[in-house]
Every structure is written in C-alpha cells, then in structure tokens.
Symmetry: D2
Subunit: 412 residues, 4 copies
C-alpha cells in the first residue's frame, strides 16, 4: 500500500436503487462476469449495500419488513477476479476492517412474518417486527429496545467464491431432492433457483435468464464455498480461507452486519447495514489439497469484545420441545429451547417478546453445543452477556417490570 490510501475495488451509491448499482449481483453462478480484478496480495476496500437493497427504512413501522421481497436478496458486491487464482487453490482473506458507511450510521434487525420469510421461532412469534439501531462509534443502541447498548462484533454475513458449473449442479440437485422429500411439510425447506428479480450488473439479458434458471440462491451457506455462513466472529482482523472453484475465484461479499448473535435466530437477525470492508487477498496455490480442505476455515482476529466469562448467564437447552416431545439428539431443537429460556428471563424485566426475539438475534450471545452424545438428549447452552444492559438483569437482580417501550410493528 502506498501513502495515498487503499484502493476501492467497488463503490456503491446509496442514492440509487440496487438495480442501478454497477457492481452487484444476487445469485451464485459461475458465468457472472467479474466486475473488477484484484491483484494477488492486494488490499482493497469494497463497498456493500444492505442485503435487502434498501427495502428497509429508518422509521417506526415494520410494514417494510412485512412486505419485503425476498426474491431480490442478497445483493452482493462482486464478483472479483483475483489474479492467479485457479480451481484447487485457496483464497486467503484478511479482513482488515469493516465499517458502516459514514453517510448511513444506522442499521436494522427484522423479524419476518411467518408467511413471508419467517425465522427460527416463527411458529411462536409469527408477526413482523423491526428495530432500528443507531451506531455510536463501536457501540450501537436502539430506540426500539431501550436499556441495551453494546459494542458491535462487525463482520460480513456472506463471503465466498463462485461455484463451478458442476458444483452448482450438485447444489441444485441435492436441494431439489430435499424439496421433493419434504412436500408433506407445511413450510418451505429450501430456496430453489428463482428467475424473478435476478440482478447481475455485468450480465447480458440472455445470461440473466440462464442465471435465473440455474443460479443458486444466496440464502443458505453451503459447505463447498461458505457463502452465507453468518459467523459472528469473522470480524476485524480475521483470516478466512476459501476454496476456489473457478479460474479467478470470482469472489463476492455482502450482507454486512454490525453485530449478530450465534444463530442469527430471527433470520433478518443481525444488525443489517450498508458498509465498507477492507480485505487483503492472497492466493495459496494448491491449497485445497495441501490443507485437505472441504469447507472454509477461519482464524478470528484479536479484538473481540471481552466481557469476562463471569458476566454471562448461560441457559441450558435439551432436545425435548416445549410441548414435551422427545427428539433424538437434535441440537436444533435443543438450541431452540435455550432461546426460549431467554424469553422467560427477560420478560420479567418488561421487554415484550418481539423485542427479546430481536435482541437475541443481534446481540453478541454465545451459542454452544455442550453435549451431543448422551442419548437421546443433545444439550446446548446460550450465553447472554449481562453488561449489554444498563440495568441489572443478573440472577441477583431485583426484578421489576420497567417501561421498555416497544419495537416497531406492522400496521394491521
């Protein structure tokens, strides 16, 4: 890097709609042409819009959440060609910094309606809701969830290299099979390719049609490339190692989060924002073979917020659901129970259920798999940091219901 500052590999313009941005796409497909080239060992800045492309506004109604159009997400910045990267290499990213865009110092957390998007607890909490967060340097707070304030563990929710054509085929095949096998269920189990609202600045009309038919949705992360992994610890200073599947890697990034809790439980659960990420890219030749790599790995940076282990309350969860049904070693059911325990805890202080749901999704909670072998009960723990509250929520706290306002709801 010279004295003149770090080069921007991509910039966005918040005044324009996402469809007019010149460096975005919203599907994974190997044929999307690269928007720019980055040198091996180069450090660049990359700007990103929020994952919904500005659908969610800084106001006190959740109507925008209710009506969100999920065929349009996620708007990723890229793809970028990384010089010298070839299939079988590993792309090494050092995330040197992540920042909100200066001109938009706020973000949002949403709970989608059960019938449009849903979330981890949508059967219990089916209504759309929203919280707006104001950024105060490294901290954030929300008029919709008073009494809480915390430092962000800022990170990208999505990063990955493009799949090869054959990998894309594998994805589509296995997710289609799941859909076929689950027709009896009353909810969606996977997002298959969707022609509506495909966006890829760099693609021709014909190509867009192809992408619409074949392009993998950005909703799930996938083992072969990472993608939408939503790992809260990929913060400043982290190094991420990504498998390369196509020549040039075709790296994309987006879905920046100011903060997120383990699980991102409300789905739109992080503090979603527009921002800029500074990444150093380098190519590890033949890395997949040398590291015997099948999925991405990472090494966190050294600057995680530190609360001290004794400043968390941990809630146990087991794979017996709230109706008393016994599941066999199901960590998902167990973690759901750990989540529900936090509702019971925080309700006592005056928060409403949707405030708690929002908070659990975006605050730096720790979700652990504790025991996964004592049949039939998986055991998980969920650690709630008590120092994010400006009143005492510890076990010793004197409990009294406070007036803690409300999150934003949709008009009926």
């Amino acid at each position: 890097m010279g004295k003149e500052g770090i080069r921007y590999a991509a910039k966005v313009d918040l005044e324009k709609p996402p469809t007019e941005q010149t460096c975005l796409h919203n599907r994974w497909h190997p044929d999307i042409p690269s928007t720019a080239t980055i040198k091996n060992n180069e450090v660049v800045k990359i700007e990103c819009i929020d994952w919904t492309g500005g659908q969610i506004k800084n106001n006190d109604s959740a109507d925008d959440i209710k009506n969100v159009d999920l065929t349009r997400v996620h708007y990723l910045t890229g793809p970028f060609d990384i010089e010298t990267a070839e299939p079988g290499d590993v792309l090494v990213l050092e995330i040197q910094d992540v920042q909100p865009l200066q001109e938009q110092p706020w973000g949002f957390t949403g709970i989608f309606a059960k019938e449009n998007g849903g979330g981890f607890l949508d059967d219990l909490f089916p209504k759309p809701a929203k919280a707006i967060w104001d950024f105060e340097g490294i901290f954030c707070s929300s008029r919709h969830i008073p009494g809480v304030r915390f430092p962000g563990l800022i990170h990208p929710g999505i990063l990955g290299c493009a799949p090869s054509a054959s990998l894309l085929e594998t994805w589509n095949k296995r997710e289609s099979e799941l859909v076929s096998n689950c027709k009896h269920l009353d909810h969606e189990v996977a997002k298959l390719p969707e022609p509506r609202n495909v966006h890829a600045t760099t693609a021709s009309a014909d190509l867009k049609e192809k992408i619409g038919k074949e392009g993998a949705r950005t909703i799930p992360g996938r083992p072969e490339h990472g993608g939408n992994c939503d790992i809260k610890n990929l913060s400043r200073g982290s190094k991420v190692y990504l498998p390369v599947h196509v020549s040039g890697a075709k790296f994309s990034v987006g879905d920046l989060h100011f903060s997120q809790g383990d699980g991102e439980i409300s789905f739109c659960g992080a503090i979603e924002m527009a921002g800029v990420i500074t990444i150093k890219f380098s190519v590890m030749k033949d890395g997949m073979k040398n590291l015997d790599m099948k999925s991405p790995i990472f090494v966190p940076g050294p600057v995680e917020p530190q609360f001290g282990p004794g400043r968390y309350i941990y809630f146990e969860g087991f794979s017996v659901d709230e109706l008393g049904k016994q599941y066999y070693m199901d960590a998902t059911v167990a973690y759901r129970q750990s989540c529900l325990r936090v509702f019971e805890w925080l309700r006592r202080f005056g928060y409403n259920d949707y405030q708690i749901y929002l908070l659990l999704s975006c605050a730096p909670i720790q979700g652990h798999i504790a025991g996964i072998v004592d049949i039939p009960n998986a055991c998980t723990t969920l650690g709630l940091p008590i120092d994010i509250f400006d009143f005492d929520v510890s076990v010793e706290a004197k409990v009294e219901k406070r007036d803690l306002g409300s999150c934003a709801f949709a008009s009926e």
Copy 2:
C-alpha cells in the same frame, strides 16, 4: 467455615469396588434415601469415583473399554438432603473447586465400540480405543497422544436434584414413546429403566427393585433438572442454579471431568477421573417461580484458560452430510461435519483417526451454533486451540507426518 478446613459430606475409598462404597447410586429416583444432610449456606467437599466405577484401568489396552458394562453407570455421589429446600425452590451451587484425588493423578478418555455404547461418529470409527492422561498440576498429557498438552477446564459432568415421582413418570413416558417411534432404526435411541446392576447404597432390596423398574438412567441430561449436561464450562468458580423437585432437593453429583471439548463427541469423551468437588449450597426460596425457571442456568467462573481468539482455527460445518445428502436445518449434522474437518486437518501431521477422535472429545475445543436460519443449511463452527500442541498445526505450518505413536486399542 472455621479454621479447621472444609467438612467432607462424602468420601470414597478407591481400594473398594463401587458396590461397596457407602454413598453412591446409579439411577435417578425420588425414593433413594439421602446419604447425608447439608446445611443451607454450607460449604462441603464431596468425593466421587469415576463414572464407570473403576472399570477402566491405567494400561495400554482398550479391552476394558470394549467390555465396559454400561448398565452400571454413572456412579453418582449422593443424594444429599439440603436443609430447607422444598419443591419450587432453586438450589444454588457455587463450585468452589474441583480436584483429582491425590492418590490417582490420572484419567482416561475412551471411544466405545459401536456395538457397546458407541459415540457421535461411531459409524465412521467403530472400534474401541483409549487414551490415559497424566495430570501435571493444572495440565495434562497422554502417552497415547503425544505432542499435545493443555490445562484442564475441570468440571462435573453430572449434577442435579432428584426428580419427583410425577416428573420421573413424564421422563419414562416420553423416552418410551421415542423408543416406540424409532423401532425402524438400527441403533439404540434412548436408555430406558434397567434393573440390572442398580446400585443405591442407602436403599433396601425392595426399593432397589422399584428403582430398577422406574429409575431414570443417568445417560441423558434432561431439561427439568440438568443432570448429565456435560457442560465444559461448569468449572471452578461457576454458580449453577438447579430446580428443586422433592423435599430436601436430594442432590447428587459425579462424572467428574479433568477436561472436555464441546460435544464430548466420543461419549466417554471427557478426561474421566475420580476426584473431589467443593460446593457451597444455598437455597433460593420460590426460585423457580421468581426466575421463571424451566431448566438449569449457570454463570461461569472467572478462571477459564485463555488462549486468545486468534489462537484457534475454526472449521465450518453445514447440514449436508459426508455423502452429499442435504438435511433441513440440522445442527447435529452440521456439527458432525465440523468435527470431520478436524480429522482431515490433523491426519496430515501424523495422528491416527482414533487419536484425533479422542483428542476432539476431551481437549478444550469450542463448538458454536453459527447460523440456524438460512434454509436448509444450519452452520456450526468448531474452534481448535493450536497452543495445546507442542508443534505447529496452524494454517501456516509446514506439514510433515510425524511419528505420533498410537492410542490404546483392544485386542482383536
């Protein structure tokens, strides 16, 4: 506490078989008479034998692991009556210390045979195996897994209060239903009451027969009382809050671990030991209602080993299994994948698969639920601390196969 030291509420004698010990039991049942009484706010020491009751020896063969008799486990110390505790109260435990017994400064980690106990990865690694760990103050090392040494995050694997008769009935009913519903599966899904080898020092023959018929097995933890939760962070200094279901609480503890990784993946996966735990007991009247408590909670102590966030390698896992099958939001499948990634990583340095399986089970690895909303893929992460190795296993390491010996196996 006076000047004369802390009172022992129970002592064991390692020279005697468990069946001759006077303060043990191996089933959960409300009718097991208390072995001793502890005052409210009293601090006591409680000795425990290892969970198998001495079945596993400090030698270089895994024959004992292969032939382990699981109808006899877990040997717990108790039950203890805590004065003033009544149903609806919360029993507060401060775990002031946990230590191995001076006369037995070693422990074991085992992999049970697929056909006798099994573990999280028994379909891939079906053979019995064992590692013996020598304790060196706060550290441990093993002749069966050279090149690794780490401080123990010492803790009890099991603690809980006795169930009430009606709670016991609930447990037996729901676990029986699971067994009924899973008859098509080729493996055991739950441990129902088992009359063989019931042990309860304080019980009459008639009572023992009743316990054999009704007593809940100690293998799973259960949401209503905790029990076998296997939470690695319940270490020195932790406070644990347990629901009380019977008069006097009838608290029991056992299954002490010198160390364990999140998940305890090989089932006999912690470093199992005989030891002594120092606990302060106090009763929070009406705690279950006041805390709206449905499952135990805890606050960790301040002395967890600290490696620094940048001293872990994190492995991502998604709910697609190793055969390419897509599961729907299954965190258990995802964590299994995170585990498998560590095998691939460590094999390159010369460890055999069973050494890795043992190590993953007992070393202080961090298992997180990262994303649980992006259908259909749950995402987990598993953090491997690199400072437990005395050679470089980082991403930058020069990889060469070392002679790293072997764990103990069974004779054919």
Copy 3:
C-alpha cells in the same frame, strides 16, 4: 444522533500548515477562546493533526526527527466549550471511536536525538531514528522494522480541560522550583513556558503574548487535569472522567496514537498520526466532590486486542542500574532495566538497537509495577507479546540472526 451522521466539531486540512489551521492551539491556558461549543450529551467528531504538525515525513531519513522543533508541540484541537460545565463538575467522555484520517493511512515513531528531545534511554541510544508505519485496517506494519505486525490499540495521547488561572500558577510554580533545584543536572528536567511558536488560532496577538509567558507546556501530563497522560488503554469504548476547572470546561484533544506500549519509552514513541476521534460528552454536576476526584479516572473499553496471557514473555527489572548501582525503591530505574532486557532478547534475532527502541515504544507491551515494598529494590515487569512477530521469538525459538533491514537514520 439523527440519521444524517455525526457532526464534526472541528476539521483539519492536511494541505495547510498547522499555523493556518483554524481550531488548534499548543499551550494550556484558560484564556484561549473556545473554537466551538458542544452540547451536553452530544456526540461529535473531532479531527486532529499529528502532534508535531506535519514536521515528520513518510520517507527513509530521520533528518526531520533530528531537526524537530519542540517549541511548536503539541498541536491540540480545541478548546471546546461544553454547555453547562462549570468548575467542580466532571466532564465525562465516551471515546466511541478513533480512526486515522482516510487520506493519510500511515504514522511514525521517532527517537529524538539526545540533544533535541531525548527519551527514556537516550544516554544509551543518543541518535535520532524513525520508523514509518503503514495502516492496514486495524493492523500496522513498517518497512523499517520488518517481521512485526500488530493490531493498534488506538487512542488519544492527550486530552484534558483547561486549567484555571490559579491552577496554571500552581503548575508554573512547582515546575520552576524543580528546574531551580536541578540546575546541577546535565539535562533538562521540565519544560517551562516558551513564547516561541505559540499557536492559538482563536487568540489575539496580545493574548498570544500572554499565553507565551504563562501557558503551560503540553509535554507533561499533570495530575489535576490529565492532559498528556499517554495511556495506551484509552482506546475505543473507554470512558474518561475529567475534572473541570473553568466555565465551559474548555476541552482539548490531540496527539492521536495508532498504538503505544506502556511507557512510550522513546518519547516520540507511539505511532503518531493525524486522525479523527468520536466522543460523547456529558457533564456530571459536582462530580469532583461526589467522586472525591483529584485526578482523572477511566474505564477501558471492551475491545482490547487479546493475545492470551501465555503469549507474552515477561522481563523482570529491579532498581539496580546497568552499572551495578543500587537505587532505593526506584520504579523508574527498574522499568529501565526491564526495557534493557528486551534489547538483549531481540538483538539475538537480528534487529538493531534502534529498531528495538522504536518497537518497544509503540508495540502493545505491558509494563507493570510488580513489587514496590521490598527495600531497596522496586521490581517491574515488561511483557512482550510474541504474536506480533511473524517468526518465533519465544524462549523455545531457534535463534538465528536474520536480515531485518534497518530503521531510518539521520544523515551525518
């Protein structure tokens, strides 16, 4: 804060010389008119130039360091009137963020010549030297000290409220007495008021003359207001509590550091930079009395880099100097010895003495007062984090002299 971003209370222009900047001053004096007003509970951004006002350049010669004009330092931004602040109040600052200026992503560490500024070890290392650091997000590295790279613990070196007239008199009196009492020494012991190069944008010519005669120099911190305290831990998220001595507080800030080690031993020892600091100001009425406050206090933020306690080598120092002379309980002598031990350590790997001196000044080393009561030896410790090096400098390291280049020196 509204949606439109945080207000700038002061901006600088790096294209202009400091004397043409409109919001700076370089002496402490109660009569310097305020440059702007800040509301109680307001959050503002404040830009600062580097402490020397651009005297030091991004090049490979230390001539600028050799010839630095110390009558001109430190250029502080301010003073700011904080609404409602009155003498006796405490001004509460939350440091929400500190960043380098985007257009100048580099900083410098200097060793002043013994005859012009000097430093903690100038009798041993009298020559001027310099290292330029490039900022890479939260990290920095230097072409002048290869092999090392670390995250910055970014902070302001100077912040404080203006002294009252009588406090200023106290300062001048006690420092003059020291100068009088130390005439026999061969070095400067304090910086008394200096008319040359007084800068105060907002002051008239007459006032400037007065400031030149009376204004306290910014070189030392002072107990009554803090000022140049050079505390490395006043980083993002910290709260600082400052005594207020004049109406409006007249707060100033400057001397921003990308990183610094405990002691800042080479004097120009931090990584000095131009930057922007985001502060929330609030006034605690009668705080000095209520807190019984005589000197500033602070509470660090939650985001310090974490290396893990076992990733430091600690060097002991005692109050016996390198010639074998015994001092009585002198922690300054002891810390000097701790510093010298690091030279001996790092020389073995190929660094030259001036590189080590620079590194010790700016890297996140931990300087502790260990024992201060065992006559006649004070004992200090200095912790060197080994993870800032990209080769092994641990006790177990295989030592070999590397080619580690050189820092910048002055032409002869």
Copy 4:
C-alpha cells in the same frame, strides 16, 4: 510421573516451630547445604510455611503484626540441588500448581507498624493492622473486610537459585554503599546481613555464623537471581527461567501468596499462607549465554482470572506528591498517587483507611507504567476490579456509607 502421584521433595509440619523444621532457611548463601536432590525434568511437590514462620495468628488482634520479628524472615524451603545444573545454565520451572495446605485454609494480610517494617504508605498510615482471609476453593473472603470476595491468583512470592560467593559479595557491597549514602534519611533503606535468628536446618553452627555475617537477606528481590520478586502473575501454569550461579543451582522457594495486587503495597501485603507448590524442573544448558539472560524471565500461565477490561476503574497518578511537590520522572511517586486515589474512592462507601490499604495490597489490582517520558511527570495507572465487590462501586454507583466493620488493630 508414575501412577502413584507426585513425589514430595520437602514437607513441613505446622505443629512444629520453624526452627524445628528440617528443610528451611532464611538467608541467601551459597554454602547452605542442600536439603534434597531433584532430577532434571522431575516434577515434585514442595511444602512451605508462611513467610513469618507462623508468627501471625488467625484472630482479631494485630498485636502479632505489631511485634513481628523481621530478623527471622523469610522462611524458604530448600535449597534443592537440581541434577546437572551448573553455573551459566538456566533453570526452567513450570509451576504446575500452588495450593494452600489443606489443614490451614486461611491466610493473612498485614500492615506493619511504621517503626517495625513499614510499607509503601507508612507515613500516612503508620499503625499496624491485619485481615484474615478464609479460602473457599479458588475464592477468598475476610471477616475484616466485608463486601469483597475474589478468586486468588495464587503464586510464590519468592523463588530463586543461590548466589555464588562473588555475586553475594557484589550484593553486600552495593547495598552497603546505599546504606552509607543514605545515612541522612530517617528510615531504613536496605536490610544488610543480620546474624540474629539465622536459620538453616542443614548448616553447622560454624556455617550459621558465617551465613549470619554474609548471607543476603530475603527482603529484596535482586536482578541476578530474582528471589523476592513478588510478581502476582507467577501463578499456576507459569514458566519461570532462572539464572544458575552455583553447581546444582540450590533452588529455594517460599512466601506463598493466595493473592496479591501489583506492588504488594503494604509490604506484608499479599494474602500470606502456608502451602504446597508443584514444580517441574528442567535445566537449559548454557541458557544464560544463549538467552543473553541477566535477570529472570517468565511466561504466565493461561488461567488468570478474567474480569473483562471494562470491569476495572483506572486511577491515574503523576509524579507530584500529595503536598504538591514536583518530582522528576519518578514512577514510584506516581504509583503512590494512584494508590491514594483509591483510598479517596473507597472511603466514600464506608471502608476505613486500613481496610483499603490491606485490600489494595492483596486484591488483583493492575499497576501499570503508562508514560515515562514526558518530563517531569511519570504517569502510572492503577486498575481496581469492580467485580470483587458484592455491592456497586462503579462510577455510576449510588454512594452511601455502609457499615463495613473493621480490620484488626493492635491493642494500644
């Protein structure tokens, strides 16, 4: 280590007076015969009595502190011959564990009378006082300082190898010179050899006389061998590297502390106890040359209590004393000021000055050298952990004087 537990290299008997113990000495001298031999790479346990040899009792009077006989201290266990150690080698210690003796689960902190021992603040607080601490596993609390409880950072206050005859001569010479040069001072500046109450179990009467004349006192630590360094961080898991000056090393250890704050400011300031330390010894041949070692170094263990950086209040101190006198770069004066600020803080809550003095000495406070270059003011910081109090002492706390009892004082 075999299966039978770790060998004791020395045991003490608390029923006997120190003069009848068989493995103790209380001066540093190369001729003291070894009490036992330890193999290279061997792990042993070593028992120690408290530093005063039982002079201080578990009661509520400080008469014993007032009348303490300091000619008898410190009682160290040793010396031990370490096989293969020769001058020029480095003795590597891994401190695998430190524990109080089971039969004496309490310790003491004392403030010596100004006229008999004194301490860092004896001019302000000249009276003798005492607090007794009860050990509760890893925690301690005191009936003499209610409202506070913390985990111990348990460690040895003294460890070192015997000086050679010529090194001993150097010590005696330089400390005598200091005494000669300070005759004008009204207080003792160093402890010269003292024939009274020399103890060395293994020495003949003639040798004892020689030791009395020449033997170095144990009060100060010294740069060439460490000794009484009082470093709170030499806790479980630490590795210490000590220079060897005589054949066999002649290692001694004692002055075990359950906890101590940086500075150990009241002199008898740690929580002093009898205990047992488990150490692995290994010899690094030619280590002094290879490491260019002039003073001991150490690497802390991984299990320090973690409070989180934001759970400390830091108090700034500068080298201007409480009478307003300006000192030149004197870190000792500055740290004294940091200490005094804590008195002002805690008095507001109801503690008396001697309780605060005791607490500051033994609680895990962090003392840092912040700035040591801005003439004439050294700046130190002292971090007070707020989580050791069971009521709120933070800046935001509602201050009210509580009834916090009293420490033990001497009868008049």
